[in-house]
């Protein structure tokens, strides 16, 4: 739309619009990620989290869809991935098909391993590395989340930051379950994080099939996403932005489903907006549609640059 500028910059990576495919959704193969960016219209892509060793993840069912019934979804995919070395190949394939920025997500079970895994994914030369410190559906396997206390969250960041070239920014992805997410974000930044992604799914939650009297998810519990997560995510982004005084970029993620949600998230303090579950509810073109809605709403409200929305609600 003439007069409306959606472009944004994430620590050197130029995004034609602020929408980012959130990690864990459709981020499996290079070809699929390229179609989300090229056809779907995402400004940037986050690949599905890779770990050093391949992981099968949980058996099915891995998703419970209650979007229509309750505005939420559960997932417990269990971090299935072919291993970081294969992921490097997928990202290389993405690069051949698509020029848009790529944020590579990694997952590890110890701080040291975060460093090792980040170093390996850095070979793919991503525009940023996101540390998934907050997946809520593997707790049985790995114990409590990294990002629930400042020391552990910061340690993982420190290991990763020291293992990858300075030219690649490192984002820490945090959980809305943290008692004080802003302090944890501050500890991560202190330890060298260049940006924060907030938030991962909440919970975990559970859904029980009443005719079989069993939890639906094979993992029983799974992370809560979708519109029900949005107010929690907006508050977390608002708190982090306030605490860090807008000094580091935040990728605001959690329940964003339309242009109004995206603007709201940016006003809370997000420089870019992650979209995950809505890529299911509205299809892969959700990114393009969210941008169109943003443009309409920005024009209506007299805003011309998406960059100027960031943190606007802080007054």
């Amino acid at each position: 739309m003439p007069g409306i500028d959606l472009s944004t910059n994430l620590l050197g990576a130029k995004l034609e619009n602020p929408t980012v495919l959130a990690s864990g959704i459709l981020g499996t193969t290079g070809a699929l990620m390229a179609s989300v960016a090229n056809e779907g219209g995402a400004g940037a892509i986050t690949s599905k989290s890779a770990s050093i060793k391949p992981r099968g993840g949980h058996p099915n069912p891995i998703v419970v869809d209650a979007i229509a019934e309750g505005g939420w979804m559960l997932n417990a995919v269990g971090l299935s991935n072919p291993g970081v070395e294969e992921k490097v190949e997928e990202i290389a394939h993405y690069r051949k098909l698509c020029g848009k920025p790529m944020i590579a997500s990694v997952f590890a079970s110890t701080a040291k391993e975060f460093g090792e895994c980040a170093a390996l994914i850095a070979r793919a030369k991503p525009d940023a590395i996101e540390l998934d410190e907050s997946c809520p559906n593997v707790e049985g396997e790995f114990g409590a989340l990294f990002c629930l206390n400042e020391r552990d969250a910061a340690k993982a960041v420190e290991e990763a930051r020291n293992s990858v070239p300075k030219s690649i920014p490192v984002f820490a992805k945090l959980s809305p379950s943290a008692p004080d997410i802003a302090s944890i974000a501050a500890a991560c930044v202190e330890a060298g994080a260049d940006g924060i992604t907030a938030v991962n799914t909440a919970g975990p939650g559970m859904a029980i099939d009443i005719s079989r009297a069993r939890p639906i998810l094979a993992n029983k519990a799974g992370g809560i996403s979708g519109p029900a997560l949005k107010p929690l995510a907006v508050r977390c982004v608002y708190d982090i932005y306030g605490k860090l005084e807008g000094k580091v970029p935040i990728i605001g993620t959690g329940g964003v489903a339309n242009g109004a949600d995206a603007i709201e998230m940016m006003m809370a303090g997000a420089s870019a907006v992650g979209i995950g579950t809505a890529a299911y509810t509205r299809g892969m073109n959700v990114f393009r549609e969210v941008c169109r809605e943003m443009e309409e709403l920005m024009e209506k409200n007299g805003y011309s640059k998406a960059r100027e929305l960031v943190g606007m609600a802080h007054g």
């Binding site: 099968g56 058996p59 891995i62 299935s80 991935n81 069993r214 299911y280």
Partner: protein, 275 residues
């Protein structure tokens, strides 16, 4: 009989898209394939699939062999299908259905050819029945490794569908692949308005090539490891397209655009496995 429409009518609707029914009948098709007939129906089209859930174990995609009563044919290939094979009449079965797109019969079509490999044959029976109902004449080609692997031959005969059986070792029907049998029919001057296939991917890939050469429309039912079944997890990508969303049925032109069609599929981790 209960009948569910879409994700089921309000009163019968189980939450979260899941429905539970009872098995009304189990038929042994051959040494490894059983057909499960449920005590309910869904509104589905040939080619669509269901995610069949065994609580506490796993959930797998199954072709809908009939919509009313809802019917699945299952080959015993691993722990999940073995568990299903252990179920009998009266046992509960849970599922989400229908999912995915379906085979389409072009307007004005008079004669079509259906090519099934192994247990893929079962899914095409539904299509043959719908085609017959529309006054379109289907010819069925059943490909199998050996005589004992041939299923549904009698069911196609009962429908009055001309059926050609081809086995790799010649123990049943003509010796050769399903594609050899298709070529023989075409060489004999038979013309088809559309070809349909369900079975091993390399068989479908070969059929798509034949169809392209003959300038014949062609629709294939692709199979990939499936996670969520609703287009969110990305596990069933076939190289730039999710099979649970864009498929499972692709016309041959669309299939050739998928980077991994005829080349590889992926396991639950996302590792490539060559066909």
């Amino acid at each position: 009989m209960r009948r569910w429409v879409g994700i089921m009518e309000a009163q019968e609707r189980t939450r979260f898209g899941y429905a539970t029914a009872k098995i009304a009948e189990v038929r042994q098709e051959n040494y490894r394939v059983k057909t499960f007939v449920l005590d309910c129906g869904v509104e589905a089209r040939p080619g669509q699939f269901a995610m069949v859930w065994i609580p506490g174990m796993d959930e797998k995609p199954m072709c809908i062999v009939n919509d009313d009563p809802l019917t699945f044919s299952v080959a015993k290939v691993g722990p999940f299908s073995s568990k299903l094979h252990g179920l009998g009449a009266g046992d509960k079965i849970s599922f989400r259905a229908p999912l995915g797109n379906s085979f389409a019969i072009p307007t004005g079509a008079k004669k079509i050819i259906l090519v099934g490999g192994g247990y893929g044959v079962a899914a095409l029976h539904f299509l043959a029945r719908v085609a017959k109902g529309k006054g379109v004449e289907p010819v069925m080609v059943v490909g199998a490794r050996k005589r004992d692997d041939v299923i549904f031959e009698g069911d196609f005969a009962k429908l009055g569908v001309k059926t050609v059986v081809a086995t790799d070792d010649g123990s049943g029907g003509v010796k050769g692949t399903a594609i050899d049998a298709v070529r023989q029919l075409l060489d004999a001057g038979e013309k088809f308005d559309c070809a349909y296939a369900c079975g091993p991917e390399m068989m479908m890939h070969a059929l798509a090539a034949v169809a392209q050469k003959e300038d014949m429309a062609c629709q294939l039912s692709l199979e990939r490891f499936m996670g969520c079944g609703i287009g969110i997890c990305g596990k069933c990508d076939a190289g730039g397209g999710l099979v649970c969303q864009g498929g499972p049925v692709y016309n041959s032109r669309a299939a050739f655009k998928l980077e991994e069609f005829g080349i590889c599929h992926r396991d639950t981790m996302g590792n490539k496995i060559r066909w």
